[in-house]
């Protein structure tokens, strides 16, 4: 009987420690000005605070990105989270967009460009998407700080560039979302 109890306690302890390692962090609270986003794919939803406009508005011309700036404060080795970025197409036909992660040459004051070798921390699972005219599309962006990352106490900026590849003219336009990452001390 004693052996059974010891085994039971051991198994329970192991299960509790191991289960949530890949779950995006969330504070679980519901404060004013915040909302939970619907799950993206099979991933659990992330609890994100929204500042500014709470609703994604449509565009009547051009294209754009909802999420001018994203801040992640206090990420640590082993942390991973999913943040949606919304692409808006206000143009007169369906458009093919390509998203890419960029290290800025002129980051915000007090921040450094996220080093090139760490750009893989920001993963765009769908780098190419078609957005119907007048529509929008939510792209999941996964940020992961690897277990063995040696980047404590840093403030870094990274950008997500959105290009409309269906533009044919010599002069083309693109938009960027600025992401600020602060790692735990």
């Amino acid at each position: 009987m004693k052996r059974f109890l010891v085994a039971l306690l051991l198994v329970v302890a192991l299960a509790l420690v191991a289960c949530p390692a890949t779950t995006p962090s969330g504070n679980g609270s519901f404060e004013p000005g915040t909302r939970d986003l619907p799950p993206i794919g099979d991933s659990p939803s992330a609890h994100i605070t929204y500042e500014g406009n709470q609703k994604v508005q449509s565009l009547t011309e051009g294209f754009g990105v909802y999420g001018s700036k994203v801040e992640l404060d206090g990420i640590y080795p082993g942390w991973s989270g999913i943040i949606p970025l919304t692409i808006l197409n206000g143009q007169d036909r369906d458009r093919l967009f390509v998203l890419s992660v960029q290290s800025p040459s002129n980051p915000k004051e007090g921040y450094e460009p996220l080093p090139e070798k760490y750009l893989f921390w920001v993963n765009i699972s769908q780098p190419t998407i078609t957005v119907i005219k007048g529509g929008s599309y939510q792209v999941p962006i996964t940020v992961t700080m690897p277990d063995n990352a040696d980047y404590k106490g840093k403030k870094a900026e990274v950008r997500i560039l959105i290009e409309d590849t269906t533009q044919t003219g010599l002069v083309q336009i693109a938009v960027e979302s600025r992401w600020f990452i602060i790692t735990e001390d």
Partner: protein, 179 residues
């Protein structure tokens, strides 16, 4: 009997772990995620430019309807809801027998491209580079507009007999939140 009890305990433990992940999450520091729900978007009124036939060391050609200087030819409009910075970047010209490199000054198979500063329409002083984005205008307000154009200077040297054919490239304007 013991084996059965052990199996039940194992299943129970897994179920507890799956149902109450927050128990373990609580040990992790909290990460604050904030999304600023603003839209970054711009439009640009003119996107095509056929420079036409050029000669080595020839006169500059302008981004306009007829190739003459027209500093207000194209109009960038901020259609988002926050002030933006707009940067510009060019590319080398490809096609024909030799590519032409984008440089700070025209040279041997090197062409030059400058954009103008609004408010100083006769001055084309924004050097367009292929290696990086450079500022075209900053802090363009919501619903604000910016007139602009470009000045193309052909290479001073190229062999027209050997290097015929059309060349193409792109100029990209990128908008991002002004901070």
């Amino acid at each position: 009997m013991k084996k059965k009890l052990l199996a039940v305990a194992l299943a129970l433990a897994i179920a507890v772990g799956a149902l109450f992940p927050a128990v373990a999450l609580a040990a992790n520091p909290e990460v604050g995620i904030t999304v600023y729900g603003d839209i970054i978007a711009i439009t640009n009124s003119q996107d095509t430019w056929a420079v036409g036939h050029v000669t080595a060391g020839g006169a500059a050609v302008y981004f306009s309807a007829d190739g003459s200087a027209d500093p207000d030819y194209s109009l960038i409009t901020n259609t988002g809801n926050q002030a933006v910075d707009i940067q510009i970047q060019g590319t080398d010209l490809e096609g024909g027998d030799y590519d032409w490199t984008l440089g700070a000054a025209a040279g041997d198979k090197v062409y030059q491209l400058y954009a103008n500063t609004e408010g100083a329409p006769t001055v084309y002083d924004v050097e367009v580079k292929s290696s990086s984005y450079v500022d075209l205008t900053t802090n363009l307000a919501k619903a604000g507009a910016y007139d602009w154009s470009m000045e193309f200077t052909p290479p001073t040297v190229f062999d027209a007999a050997d290097d015929g054919g059309a060349k193409t490239g792109t100029v990209t304007l990128v908008a991002r939140l002004h901070t």
